[in-house]
Protein backbone atom coordinates (compact mmCIF):
# COMPACT_ATOMS: atom_id res chain seq x y z
CA UNK A 1 0.00 0.00 0.00
CA UNK A 2 2.79 2.37 0.88
CA UNK A 3 4.59 1.79 -2.40
CA UNK A 4 1.47 2.58 -4.37
CA UNK A 5 0.78 6.02 -2.90
CA UNK A 6 2.82 7.81 -5.56
CA UNK A 7 1.06 5.94 -8.34
CA UNK A 8 -2.28 6.68 -6.74
CA UNK A 9 -1.56 10.41 -6.96
CA UNK A 10 -0.32 10.37 -10.46
CA UNK A 11 -2.98 8.26 -12.09
CA UNK A 12 -5.91 10.69 -11.69
CA UNK A 13 -3.72 13.61 -12.72
CA UNK A 14 -2.43 11.76 -15.73
CA UNK A 15 -5.95 10.74 -16.75
CA UNK A 16 -7.31 14.25 -16.26
CA UNK A 17 -4.42 15.66 -18.30
CA UNK A 18 -4.95 13.23 -21.17
CA UNK A 19 -8.66 13.97 -21.32
CA UNK A 20 -7.92 17.70 -21.30
CA UNK A 21 -5.39 17.36 -24.11
CA UNK A 22 -7.75 15.20 -26.15
CA UNK A 23 -10.46 17.82 -25.82
CA UNK A 24 -8.02 20.56 -26.82
CA UNK A 25 -6.75 18.68 -29.84
CA UNK A 26 -10.32 17.95 -30.88
CA UNK A 27 -11.04 21.69 -30.79
CA UNK A 28 -7.83 22.32 -32.74
CA UNK A 29 -8.78 19.89 -35.48
CA UNK A 30 -12.19 21.41 -36.02
CA UNK A 31 -10.89 24.98 -36.23
CA UNK A 32 -7.94 24.17 -38.48
CA UNK A 33 -10.06 22.14 -40.87
CA UNK A 34 -12.45 25.06 -41.08
CA UNK A 35 -9.85 27.63 -42.08
CA UNK A 36 -8.62 28.09 -45.61
CA UNK A 37 -4.92 28.26 -46.44
CA UNK A 38 -3.85 31.85 -47.09
CA UNK A 39 -0.18 31.32 -48.00
CA UNK A 40 0.39 32.03 -51.64
CA UNK A 41 4.20 32.00 -51.87
CA UNK A 42 6.33 28.88 -51.61
CA UNK A 43 8.04 28.29 -48.24
CA UNK A 44 11.60 29.64 -48.15
CA UNK A 45 12.86 29.33 -44.56
CA UNK A 46 12.91 31.33 -41.37
CA UNK A 47 13.80 34.99 -40.91
CA UNK A 48 14.73 35.78 -37.34
CA UNK A 49 13.97 39.37 -36.36
CA UNK A 50 15.07 40.94 -33.06
CA UNK A 51 13.00 44.07 -32.56
CA UNK A 52 12.33 46.83 -30.05
CA UNK A 53 9.57 45.61 -27.73
CA UNK A 54 7.39 48.67 -28.40
CA UNK A 55 6.67 47.08 -31.81
CA UNK A 56 5.48 43.74 -30.38
CA UNK A 57 1.82 44.12 -31.25
CA UNK A 58 2.54 45.35 -34.79
CA UNK A 59 5.19 42.70 -35.49
CA UNK A 60 3.40 39.66 -34.11
CA UNK A 61 -0.17 40.53 -35.08
CA UNK A 62 0.23 42.44 -38.35
CA UNK A 63 3.64 42.14 -39.99
CA UNK A 64 4.17 38.43 -39.30
CA UNK A 65 1.14 37.07 -41.14
CA UNK A 66 1.34 39.46 -44.10
CA UNK A 67 5.09 39.03 -44.53
CA UNK A 68 4.83 35.23 -44.34
CA UNK A 69 1.99 34.95 -46.83
CA UNK A 70 3.36 37.47 -49.33
CA UNK A 71 7.00 36.32 -49.36
CA UNK A 72 6.94 32.64 -48.30
CA UNK A 73 9.44 33.23 -45.48
CA UNK A 74 8.56 32.41 -41.88
CA UNK A 75 8.88 35.39 -39.53
CA UNK A 76 10.34 34.56 -36.13
CA UNK A 77 10.33 37.54 -33.79
CA UNK A 78 12.09 38.33 -30.52
CA UNK A 79 10.85 41.39 -28.63
CA UNK A 80 13.03 43.10 -26.01
CA UNK A 81 14.30 46.55 -25.13
CA UNK A 82 16.69 47.73 -27.88
CA UNK A 83 19.67 47.90 -25.51
CA UNK A 84 18.87 44.44 -24.16
CA UNK A 85 18.84 43.03 -27.70
CA UNK A 86 22.25 44.54 -28.44
CA UNK A 87 23.64 42.93 -25.30
CA UNK A 88 22.17 39.58 -26.33
CA UNK A 89 23.62 39.79 -29.83
CA UNK A 90 27.07 40.79 -28.53
CA UNK A 91 26.88 38.17 -25.78
CA UNK A 92 26.16 35.51 -28.43
CA UNK A 93 22.86 34.66 -26.77
CA UNK A 94 20.75 35.63 -29.74
CA UNK A 95 21.50 35.18 -33.46
CA UNK A 96 18.93 37.21 -35.39
CA UNK A 97 19.10 38.03 -39.09
CA UNK A 98 17.49 41.46 -38.68
CA UNK A 99 17.83 43.98 -35.86
CA UNK A 100 15.29 46.75 -35.29
CA UNK A 101 16.20 49.47 -32.81
CA UNK A 102 14.06 52.23 -31.34
CA UNK A 103 17.07 54.53 -31.20
CA UNK A 104 19.38 55.09 -34.19
CA UNK A 105 22.37 55.84 -31.95
CA UNK A 106 22.32 52.35 -30.44
CA UNK A 107 23.34 50.85 -33.81
CA UNK A 108 26.84 52.20 -33.25
CA UNK A 109 27.26 49.66 -30.45
CA UNK A 110 27.15 46.86 -33.05
CA UNK A 111 29.51 48.57 -35.52
CA UNK A 112 33.26 48.53 -35.98
CA UNK A 113 35.89 45.92 -35.19
CA UNK A 114 35.88 46.72 -31.47
CA UNK A 115 32.16 45.91 -31.35
CA UNK A 116 32.44 42.68 -33.33
CA UNK A 117 31.30 44.12 -36.69
CA UNK A 118 27.79 42.79 -36.22
CA UNK A 119 26.33 45.60 -38.30
CA UNK A 120 27.70 47.99 -40.94
CA UNK A 121 24.69 50.11 -41.90
CA UNK A 122 21.16 50.94 -40.83
CA UNK A 123 18.09 52.58 -42.31
CA UNK A 124 15.50 54.79 -40.64
CA UNK A 125 12.18 53.23 -41.56
CA UNK A 126 9.56 54.54 -39.11
CA UNK A 127 8.93 57.16 -36.49
CA UNK A 128 6.70 57.44 -33.47
CA UNK A 129 5.76 59.90 -30.73
CA UNK A 130 5.31 59.80 -26.98
CA UNK A 131 1.75 59.72 -25.60
CA UNK A 132 0.16 59.07 -22.23
CA UNK A 133 -1.96 55.93 -22.23
CA UNK A 134 -4.49 55.62 -19.43
CA UNK A 135 -6.71 53.01 -17.82
CA UNK A 136 -10.35 53.67 -18.82
CA UNK A 137 -11.53 52.19 -15.49
CA UNK A 138 -9.24 54.38 -13.41
CA UNK A 139 -10.80 56.87 -11.02
CA UNK A 140 -8.74 59.49 -12.87
CA UNK A 141 -10.20 58.50 -16.28
CA UNK A 142 -12.58 61.48 -16.33
CA UNK A 143 -9.65 63.82 -15.66
CA UNK A 144 -7.69 62.25 -18.51
CA UNK A 145 -10.69 62.68 -20.80
CA UNK A 146 -10.82 66.32 -19.79
CA UNK A 147 -7.10 66.61 -20.55
CA UNK A 148 -7.68 64.96 -23.94
CA UNK A 149 -10.33 67.52 -24.84
CA UNK A 150 -8.13 70.37 -23.66
CA UNK A 151 -10.14 71.51 -20.65
CA UNK A 152 -7.41 70.37 -18.29
CA UNK A 153 -3.62 70.12 -18.58
CA UNK A 154 -2.28 66.55 -18.76
CA UNK A 155 0.53 67.28 -16.34
CA UNK A 156 -1.96 68.50 -13.74
CA UNK A 157 -3.67 65.10 -13.90
CA UNK A 158 -0.33 63.32 -13.51
CA UNK A 159 0.38 65.44 -10.44
CA UNK A 160 -2.82 64.38 -8.68
CA UNK A 161 -2.18 62.59 -5.40
CA UNK A 162 -2.64 58.82 -5.45
CA UNK A 163 -2.24 58.49 -9.22
CA UNK A 164 -0.25 55.44 -10.24
CA UNK A 165 2.03 56.21 -13.16
CA UNK A 166 4.10 53.64 -15.02
CA UNK A 167 7.12 54.05 -17.25
CA UNK A 168 9.98 51.89 -18.44
CA UNK A 169 13.47 51.69 -17.00
CA UNK A 170 15.75 54.39 -18.48
CA UNK A 171 18.65 51.99 -17.92
CA UNK A 172 17.07 49.26 -20.05
CA UNK A 173 15.32 50.83 -23.01
CA UNK A 174 15.22 54.11 -24.96
CA UNK A 175 11.58 54.79 -24.08
CA UNK A 176 12.48 55.10 -20.41
CA UNK A 177 14.94 57.84 -21.34
CA UNK A 178 12.49 59.42 -23.79
CA UNK A 179 9.96 59.70 -20.96
CA UNK A 180 12.44 61.81 -19.02
CA UNK A 181 13.14 64.00 -22.10
CA UNK A 182 9.41 64.48 -22.63
CA UNK A 183 8.91 65.77 -19.10
CA UNK A 184 11.98 68.00 -19.28
CA UNK A 185 10.66 69.50 -22.52
CA UNK A 186 7.21 69.93 -20.95
CA UNK A 187 8.78 71.72 -18.01
CA UNK A 188 10.13 74.37 -20.41
CA UNK A 189 7.19 74.43 -22.80
CA UNK A 190 4.57 74.95 -20.08
CA UNK A 191 6.86 77.07 -17.88
CA UNK A 192 6.46 74.68 -14.97
CA UNK A 193 9.80 74.55 -13.15
CA UNK A 194 10.20 71.34 -11.16
CA UNK A 195 7.58 69.45 -13.22
CA UNK A 196 9.85 66.48 -14.01
CA UNK A 197 10.72 65.92 -10.40
CA UNK A 198 7.12 66.43 -9.28
CA UNK A 199 5.81 63.75 -11.62
CA UNK A 200 8.68 61.28 -11.74
CA UNK A 201 10.03 61.61 -8.21
CA UNK A 202 13.54 60.56 -9.13
CA UNK A 203 14.65 59.28 -12.53
CA UNK A 204 15.04 55.82 -11.00
CA UNK A 205 11.83 55.95 -8.92
CA UNK A 206 11.22 52.23 -8.39
CA UNK A 207 7.49 52.58 -7.79
CA UNK A 208 6.98 53.81 -11.37
CA UNK A 209 9.46 51.67 -13.28
CA UNK A 210 8.57 48.41 -14.97
CA UNK A 211 10.26 46.34 -17.67
CA UNK A 212 9.06 47.34 -21.13
CA UNK A 213 7.42 43.94 -21.72
CA UNK A 214 5.35 44.35 -18.52
CA UNK A 215 4.16 47.95 -18.73
CA UNK A 216 1.28 47.33 -21.15
CA UNK A 217 0.40 44.21 -19.14
CA UNK A 218 0.16 46.25 -15.94
CA UNK A 219 -2.07 48.86 -17.52
CA UNK A 220 -4.16 46.13 -19.17
CA UNK A 221 -4.52 44.30 -15.87
CA UNK A 222 -5.96 47.51 -14.43
CA UNK A 223 -3.16 48.00 -11.91
CA UNK A 224 -1.93 51.35 -13.25
CA UNK A 225 -3.77 54.63 -13.89
CA UNK A 226 -1.52 55.81 -16.70
CA UNK A 227 1.79 55.23 -18.40
CA UNK A 228 4.16 56.77 -20.93
CA UNK A 229 3.99 54.90 -24.24
CA UNK A 230 4.67 55.26 -27.94
CA UNK A 231 1.49 55.97 -29.87
CA UNK A 232 1.73 52.64 -31.75
CA UNK A 233 1.67 50.72 -28.46
CA UNK A 234 -1.71 52.09 -27.43
CA UNK A 235 -3.44 52.62 -30.77
CA UNK A 236 -3.43 48.94 -31.81
CA UNK A 237 -4.78 47.51 -28.52
CA UNK A 238 -7.30 50.40 -28.24
CA UNK A 239 -5.92 51.81 -25.02
CA UNK A 240 -7.23 55.38 -24.57
CA UNK A 241 -4.46 57.97 -24.76
CA UNK A 242 -3.68 61.67 -24.66
CA UNK A 243 -1.60 63.16 -27.48
CA UNK A 244 1.13 65.59 -26.45
CA UNK A 245 2.17 68.73 -28.38
CA UNK A 246 4.97 68.31 -30.93
CA UNK A 247 7.23 70.45 -28.75
CA UNK A 248 7.38 67.67 -26.15
CA UNK A 249 6.35 64.39 -27.88
CA UNK A 250 9.69 63.76 -29.67
CA UNK A 251 7.73 62.98 -32.82
CA UNK A 252 8.55 65.90 -35.12
CA UNK A 253 11.96 65.62 -36.88
CA UNK A 254 12.01 69.35 -37.67
CA UNK A 255 12.18 70.05 -33.93
CA UNK A 256 15.31 67.93 -33.42
CA UNK A 257 17.33 70.92 -32.22
CA UNK A 258 14.72 71.76 -29.61
CA UNK A 259 14.55 68.13 -28.43
CA UNK A 260 18.33 68.10 -28.02
CA UNK A 261 18.04 70.63 -25.19
CA UNK A 262 16.73 67.85 -22.94
CA UNK A 263 19.47 65.70 -21.41
CA UNK A 264 19.81 62.57 -19.32
CA UNK A 265 22.84 61.33 -17.42
CA UNK A 266 23.21 57.57 -17.11
CA UNK A 267 23.82 57.01 -13.37
CA UNK A 268 25.89 53.86 -14.07
CA UNK A 269 28.20 55.16 -16.79
CA UNK A 270 27.81 58.94 -16.24
CA UNK A 271 27.37 59.28 -20.00
CA UNK A 272 25.12 62.20 -20.95
CA UNK A 273 22.70 61.78 -23.85
CA UNK A 274 20.43 64.29 -25.56
CA UNK A 275 16.82 64.13 -26.68
CA UNK A 276 16.10 63.27 -30.31
CA UNK A 277 13.12 62.31 -32.48
CA UNK A 278 12.04 58.72 -31.84
CA UNK A 279 13.07 56.88 -34.99
CA UNK A 280 13.04 53.13 -35.59
CA UNK A 281 15.94 51.74 -37.59
CA UNK A 282 16.48 48.39 -39.27
CA UNK A 283 19.58 46.52 -40.39
CA UNK A 284 20.47 43.07 -41.66
CA UNK A 285 23.28 41.83 -39.43
CA UNK A 286 26.57 40.74 -41.00
CA UNK A 287 26.19 37.51 -39.03
CA UNK A 288 22.76 36.73 -40.51
CA UNK A 289 22.21 33.07 -41.20
CA UNK A 290 19.50 33.90 -43.69
CA UNK A 291 20.91 36.94 -45.50
CA UNK A 292 18.46 36.75 -48.41
CA UNK A 293 15.55 36.40 -46.00
CA UNK A 294 16.79 39.31 -43.88
CA UNK A 295 17.06 41.55 -46.94
CA UNK A 296 13.61 40.33 -48.01
CA UNK A 297 12.20 41.38 -44.65
CA UNK A 298 13.71 44.89 -44.82
CA UNK A 299 12.38 45.21 -48.38
CA UNK A 300 8.93 44.29 -47.08
CA UNK A 301 9.13 46.87 -44.27
CA UNK A 302 10.08 49.60 -46.74
CA UNK A 303 7.50 48.57 -49.34
CA UNK A 304 4.21 50.43 -49.57
CA UNK A 305 2.49 47.28 -48.24
CA UNK A 306 4.72 47.20 -45.15
CA UNK A 307 4.53 50.94 -44.58
CA UNK A 308 0.74 51.03 -44.73
CA UNK A 309 0.57 48.18 -42.19
CA UNK A 310 2.73 50.24 -39.81
CA UNK A 311 0.77 53.43 -40.35
CA UNK A 312 -2.48 51.65 -39.61
CA UNK A 313 -1.09 51.14 -36.11
CA UNK A 314 -0.12 54.74 -35.52
CA UNK A 315 3.46 54.57 -36.78
CA UNK A 316 4.56 57.77 -38.54
CA UNK A 317 6.46 57.93 -41.83
CA UNK A 318 10.06 59.03 -42.09
CA UNK A 319 12.49 59.36 -45.00
CA UNK A 320 14.54 56.14 -45.39
CA UNK A 321 17.89 57.73 -44.59
CA UNK A 322 20.92 55.56 -44.04
CA UNK A 323 23.48 55.56 -41.23
CA UNK A 324 26.85 53.84 -40.91
CA UNK A 325 28.67 52.57 -44.00
CA UNK A 326 26.29 53.39 -46.85
CA UNK A 327 28.32 51.37 -49.36
CA UNK A 328 27.56 48.23 -47.35
CA UNK A 329 23.81 48.50 -47.96
CA UNK A 330 22.70 45.47 -50.01
CA UNK A 331 22.09 46.20 -53.70
CA UNK A 332 18.43 45.11 -53.44
CA UNK A 333 17.73 47.84 -50.87
CA UNK A 334 19.60 50.75 -52.42
CA UNK A 335 16.60 51.85 -54.50
CA UNK A 336 14.73 52.72 -51.28
CA UNK A 337 17.45 54.79 -49.63
CA UNK A 338 17.02 58.54 -49.61
CA UNK A 339 19.98 60.78 -49.21
Amino acid sequence: MKQHSFRQHLLPIFTAGMVFLLLLSACGTTTSSGSTPTATAAPKGTVSVAYAASLTNIMENMVKSTFDSSTGYTFQGEAKGSSALINEIKGKLSFPDVFISANPKLNAQLMGAANGNYASWYLDFARTEMVIGYNPNSKFAADFQAAGSGSKQWYQVLEEPGLRLGRTDPLLDPKGVNTIYTLELAEKYYHQPGLTQKILGSNENTSQIFPEEELVTRLGAGQLDAGFFYINEVKGPNIPYISLPDQVNLGNPSMAAQYATATWKNPKTNAVSKGAPVVYTVTVLNTAKNMAGGIGFVKFLLSSQGQSLLQGQGILTTPFTAGGDKTAIPQQLKQYVQS
Binding site: K2, S5, N87, D169, T206, G222
Partner: protein, 278 residues
Amino acid sequence: MQQVSSTDVEQHRTTPFRPAGRGTVFWLLAACMMLYLIGPLVYFLFVLPWPSVPSTLSDPDAVQALITSAESATIATAFMALFGIPLGYVLARFSFPGKSIVSVAIYLPLVFPPVISGIILLVLFGPYGLIGGPLTNAGWEVDDSLAGIVIAQIFVAAPFVIVAARSAFESIDPRLEQVAATLGHNRWSLFWRVSLPLARGGIIAGLILAWMRALGEFGATVVLAYHPYTIPVFTFVQLSSVGVAGALPLALFSLGLSIVVIGAIVVVQRRTGKSIVI
Protein backbone atom coordinates in the same frame (compact mmCIF):
# COMPACT_ATOMS: atom_id res chain seq x y z
CA MET B 1 11.61 -20.19 -6.61
CA GLN B 2 12.10 -19.66 -2.96
CA GLN B 3 9.42 -18.08 -0.87
CA VAL B 4 10.51 -14.79 0.67
CA SER B 5 8.97 -14.27 4.06
CA SER B 6 8.67 -10.97 5.83
CA THR B 7 11.27 -12.02 8.38
CA ASP B 8 13.75 -12.58 5.55
CA VAL B 9 13.15 -9.04 4.35
CA GLU B 10 13.65 -7.73 7.89
CA GLN B 11 16.96 -9.58 8.07
CA HIS B 12 18.15 -8.18 4.80
CA ARG B 13 17.64 -4.71 6.14
CA THR B 14 20.08 -5.32 8.92
CA THR B 15 22.59 -7.79 7.46
CA PRO B 16 24.52 -6.73 4.36
CA PHE B 17 23.38 -8.55 1.27
CA ARG B 18 24.82 -8.20 -2.21
CA PRO B 19 22.86 -9.31 -5.25
CA ALA B 20 24.74 -10.86 -8.16
CA GLY B 21 25.95 -8.46 -10.87
CA ARG B 22 27.73 -5.11 -10.67
CA GLY B 23 24.83 -2.91 -11.68
CA THR B 24 26.68 -1.65 -14.78
CA VAL B 25 23.45 -0.53 -16.43
CA PHE B 26 22.53 1.59 -13.40
CA TRP B 27 25.97 3.15 -13.28
CA LEU B 28 25.88 4.01 -16.97
CA LEU B 29 22.44 5.62 -16.85
CA ALA B 30 23.23 7.41 -13.60
CA ALA B 31 26.49 8.73 -15.03
CA CYS B 32 24.63 10.21 -18.02
CA MET B 33 22.24 12.02 -15.71
CA MET B 34 25.04 13.27 -13.45
CA LEU B 35 27.03 14.52 -16.43
CA TYR B 36 23.97 16.25 -17.84
CA LEU B 37 23.35 18.13 -14.58
CA ILE B 38 26.89 18.78 -13.39
CA GLY B 39 28.50 19.34 -16.81
CA PRO B 40 26.82 22.72 -17.47
CA LEU B 41 27.58 23.87 -13.91
CA VAL B 42 31.28 23.07 -14.36
CA TYR B 43 31.28 24.65 -17.82
CA PHE B 44 29.69 27.75 -16.26
CA LEU B 45 32.87 28.20 -14.21
CA PHE B 46 34.90 28.19 -17.44
CA VAL B 47 32.77 30.70 -19.34
CA LEU B 48 32.43 32.96 -16.30
CA PRO B 49 34.20 36.27 -16.98
CA TRP B 50 36.30 36.05 -13.81
CA PRO B 51 37.85 39.56 -14.09
CA SER B 52 34.39 41.12 -13.79
CA VAL B 53 33.35 38.91 -10.85
CA PRO B 54 34.64 41.10 -7.96
CA SER B 55 33.18 44.33 -9.32
CA THR B 56 29.83 42.72 -10.17
CA LEU B 57 29.43 41.02 -6.81
CA SER B 58 30.55 44.05 -4.79
CA ASP B 59 27.95 46.27 -6.51
CA PRO B 60 25.63 47.41 -3.66
CA ASP B 61 22.61 46.63 -5.87
CA ALA B 62 23.82 43.04 -6.26
CA VAL B 63 24.41 42.65 -2.53
CA GLN B 64 20.97 44.08 -1.83
CA ALA B 65 19.46 41.62 -4.35
CA LEU B 66 21.20 38.75 -2.55
CA ILE B 67 19.75 39.89 0.79
CA THR B 68 16.28 40.31 -0.73
CA SER B 69 16.45 36.85 -2.31
CA ALA B 70 17.60 35.11 0.88
CA GLU B 71 15.01 36.95 2.99
CA SER B 72 12.07 36.41 0.65
CA ALA B 73 12.80 32.72 -0.02
CA THR B 74 13.16 32.05 3.70
CA ILE B 75 9.97 33.90 4.64
CA ALA B 76 8.14 32.14 1.79
CA THR B 77 9.40 28.75 3.01
CA ALA B 78 8.23 29.50 6.55
CA PHE B 79 4.74 30.26 5.23
CA MET B 80 4.78 27.15 3.07
CA ALA B 81 5.74 25.06 6.09
CA LEU B 82 3.04 26.64 8.26
CA PHE B 83 0.23 26.10 5.77
CA GLY B 84 1.58 23.48 3.34
CA ILE B 85 2.44 20.74 5.84
CA PRO B 86 -1.10 20.78 7.31
CA LEU B 87 -2.52 20.61 3.77
CA GLY B 88 -0.30 17.61 3.01
CA TYR B 89 -1.47 16.03 6.29
CA VAL B 90 -5.15 16.63 5.54
CA LEU B 91 -4.75 15.13 2.06
CA ALA B 92 -2.95 12.10 3.48
CA ARG B 93 -5.20 11.40 6.46
CA PHE B 94 -8.71 12.71 5.77
CA SER B 95 -11.19 12.12 3.03
CA PHE B 96 -13.57 14.88 2.07
CA PRO B 97 -15.74 15.81 -0.91
CA GLY B 98 -13.70 17.23 -3.77
CA LYS B 99 -10.45 15.75 -2.49
CA SER B 100 -9.43 14.52 -5.93
CA ILE B 101 -9.95 18.01 -7.35
CA VAL B 102 -7.75 19.53 -4.64
CA SER B 103 -5.16 16.81 -5.24
CA VAL B 104 -4.90 17.80 -8.90
CA ALA B 105 -5.22 21.55 -8.27
CA ILE B 106 -2.14 21.72 -6.04
CA TYR B 107 -0.01 20.66 -9.03
CA LEU B 108 -1.36 23.35 -11.35
CA PRO B 109 0.96 26.20 -10.29
CA LEU B 110 3.79 24.00 -11.59
CA VAL B 111 2.39 23.85 -15.12
CA PHE B 112 1.05 27.40 -15.30
CA PRO B 113 3.30 29.66 -17.39
CA PRO B 114 4.97 31.78 -14.65
CA VAL B 115 4.05 35.04 -16.42
CA ILE B 116 0.37 34.05 -16.28
CA SER B 117 0.75 33.22 -12.58
CA GLY B 118 2.26 36.68 -12.15
CA ILE B 119 -0.61 38.39 -13.97
CA ILE B 120 -3.26 36.54 -11.95
CA LEU B 121 -1.49 37.39 -8.70
CA LEU B 122 -1.16 40.99 -9.89
CA VAL B 123 -4.89 41.25 -10.60
CA LEU B 124 -5.53 39.90 -7.08
CA PHE B 125 -2.80 41.65 -5.11
CA GLY B 126 -2.11 44.75 -7.26
CA PRO B 127 -2.96 48.25 -5.97
CA TYR B 128 -6.42 48.03 -7.60
CA GLY B 129 -6.79 44.28 -7.08
CA LEU B 130 -9.45 42.32 -5.25
CA ILE B 131 -7.24 41.77 -2.19
CA GLY B 132 -4.52 44.33 -2.92
CA GLY B 133 -7.01 47.20 -3.21
CA PRO B 134 -8.27 47.11 0.39
CA LEU B 135 -4.72 46.43 1.62
CA THR B 136 -3.40 49.44 -0.31
CA ASN B 137 -6.16 51.63 1.13
CA ALA B 138 -5.09 50.45 4.57
CA GLY B 139 -1.57 51.65 3.76
CA TRP B 140 -0.01 48.28 3.01
CA GLU B 141 1.00 47.96 -0.62
CA VAL B 142 1.98 44.41 -1.45
CA ASP B 143 3.07 44.57 -5.08
CA ASP B 144 6.55 45.88 -5.75
CA SER B 145 7.59 45.02 -2.22
CA LEU B 146 9.13 42.13 -0.31
CA ALA B 147 5.58 40.92 0.35
CA GLY B 148 4.91 40.76 -3.40
CA ILE B 149 8.03 38.66 -3.95
CA VAL B 150 7.01 36.29 -1.16
CA ILE B 151 3.48 35.96 -2.59
CA ALA B 152 4.87 35.05 -6.02
CA GLN B 153 7.37 32.59 -4.56
CA ILE B 154 4.78 30.79 -2.42
CA PHE B 155 2.49 30.34 -5.40
CA VAL B 156 5.10 28.64 -7.54
CA ALA B 157 6.97 26.70 -4.83
CA ALA B 158 4.27 25.51 -2.42
CA PRO B 159 3.36 22.40 -4.48
CA PHE B 160 6.77 20.93 -3.60
CA VAL B 161 6.03 21.16 0.12
CA ILE B 162 2.45 19.90 -0.11
CA VAL B 163 3.27 16.91 -2.33
CA ALA B 164 6.35 15.98 -0.27
CA ALA B 165 4.44 16.28 3.02
CA ARG B 166 1.54 14.23 1.71
CA SER B 167 3.80 11.43 0.43
CA ALA B 168 5.78 11.45 3.68
CA PHE B 169 2.64 11.20 5.84
CA GLU B 170 1.21 8.50 3.61
CA SER B 171 4.36 6.41 3.83
CA ILE B 172 4.04 6.16 7.62
CA ASP B 173 2.85 2.73 8.70
CA PRO B 174 -0.75 3.44 9.82
CA ARG B 175 -0.38 0.86 12.59
CA LEU B 176 2.08 3.11 14.41
CA GLU B 177 -0.51 5.89 14.59
CA GLN B 178 -3.19 3.40 15.59
CA VAL B 179 -1.03 2.14 18.45
CA ALA B 180 -0.34 5.69 19.58
CA ALA B 181 -4.06 6.47 19.47
CA THR B 182 -4.83 3.51 21.69
CA LEU B 183 -2.23 4.86 24.13
CA GLY B 184 -4.37 7.96 24.55
CA HIS B 185 -2.85 10.47 22.11
CA ASN B 186 -5.40 12.85 20.66
CA ARG B 187 -5.19 14.02 17.01
CA TRP B 188 -2.98 17.01 17.89
CA SER B 189 -0.47 15.13 19.98
CA LEU B 190 -0.53 12.24 17.50
CA PHE B 191 0.52 14.72 14.79
CA TRP B 192 3.27 16.34 16.86
CA ARG B 193 4.68 13.26 18.55
CA VAL B 194 4.22 10.51 15.99
CA SER B 195 3.34 11.59 12.46
CA LEU B 196 5.51 14.69 12.11
CA PRO B 197 8.72 13.08 13.49
CA LEU B 198 8.25 10.06 11.23
CA ALA B 199 7.54 12.18 8.16
CA ARG B 200 10.31 14.65 8.95
CA GLY B 201 12.79 13.47 6.32
CA GLY B 202 10.40 13.78 3.41
CA ILE B 203 9.01 17.10 4.61
CA ILE B 204 12.44 18.67 5.01
CA ALA B 205 13.37 17.46 1.53
CA GLY B 206 10.22 19.19 0.24
CA LEU B 207 11.01 22.40 2.14
CA ILE B 208 14.54 22.50 0.74
CA LEU B 209 13.24 22.00 -2.79
CA ALA B 210 10.65 24.73 -2.24
CA TRP B 211 13.25 27.12 -0.80
CA MET B 212 15.47 26.58 -3.82
CA ARG B 213 12.60 26.99 -6.25
CA ALA B 214 11.66 30.23 -4.48
CA LEU B 215 15.26 31.43 -4.68
CA GLY B 216 15.33 30.91 -8.45
CA GLU B 217 11.82 32.23 -9.13
CA PHE B 218 11.69 34.82 -11.91
CA GLY B 219 8.62 34.70 -14.18
CA ALA B 220 5.89 35.52 -11.68
CA THR B 221 8.11 37.79 -9.58
CA VAL B 222 9.06 40.09 -12.45
CA VAL B 223 5.36 40.79 -13.08
CA LEU B 224 4.17 41.16 -9.49
CA ALA B 225 7.25 42.68 -7.88
CA TYR B 226 9.88 44.02 -10.29
CA HIS B 227 11.26 45.92 -7.30
CA PRO B 228 12.98 45.32 -4.94
CA TYR B 229 15.31 43.25 -7.13
CA THR B 230 15.87 39.59 -6.32
CA ILE B 231 18.90 37.79 -7.77
CA PRO B 232 16.96 36.43 -10.79
CA VAL B 233 15.33 39.79 -11.58
CA PHE B 234 18.59 41.67 -11.08
CA THR B 235 20.29 39.15 -13.39
CA PHE B 236 17.71 40.00 -16.06
CA VAL B 237 18.29 43.71 -15.48
CA GLN B 238 22.06 43.33 -15.71
CA LEU B 239 21.80 41.18 -18.82
CA SER B 240 19.68 43.86 -20.45
CA SER B 241 21.72 46.85 -19.38
CA VAL B 242 25.33 45.67 -19.02
CA GLY B 243 25.37 42.40 -20.93
CA VAL B 244 26.49 38.85 -20.26
CA ALA B 245 29.61 39.84 -18.32
CA GLY B 246 27.49 41.73 -15.79
CA ALA B 247 24.92 38.97 -15.44
CA LEU B 248 26.78 35.64 -15.21
CA PRO B 249 28.70 36.34 -11.97
CA LEU B 250 25.40 36.85 -10.12
CA ALA B 251 24.71 33.12 -10.39
CA LEU B 252 27.64 32.65 -7.98
CA PHE B 253 25.48 34.29 -5.31
CA SER B 254 22.69 31.77 -5.82
CA LEU B 255 25.15 28.88 -5.93
CA GLY B 256 26.96 30.12 -2.83
CA LEU B 257 23.74 30.65 -0.88
CA SER B 258 22.54 27.14 -1.71
CA ILE B 259 25.88 25.57 -0.81
CA VAL B 260 25.88 27.37 2.56
CA VAL B 261 22.35 26.17 3.37
CA ILE B 262 22.91 22.59 2.21
CA GLY B 263 26.25 22.56 4.06
CA ALA B 264 24.51 23.71 7.25
CA ILE B 265 21.98 20.90 6.91
CA VAL B 266 24.75 18.32 6.45
CA VAL B 267 26.55 19.64 9.55
CA VAL B 268 23.37 19.51 11.65
CA GLN B 269 22.77 16.01 10.34
CA ARG B 270 26.26 14.85 11.33
CA ARG B 271 26.05 16.45 14.77
CA THR B 272 22.66 15.05 15.68
CA GLY B 273 23.31 11.73 13.96
CA LYS B 274 19.86 11.94 12.46
CA SER B 275 19.65 11.30 8.77
CA ILE B 276 17.51 13.95 7.15
CA VAL B 277 17.82 13.88 3.41
CA ILE B 278 21.27 14.55 2.07
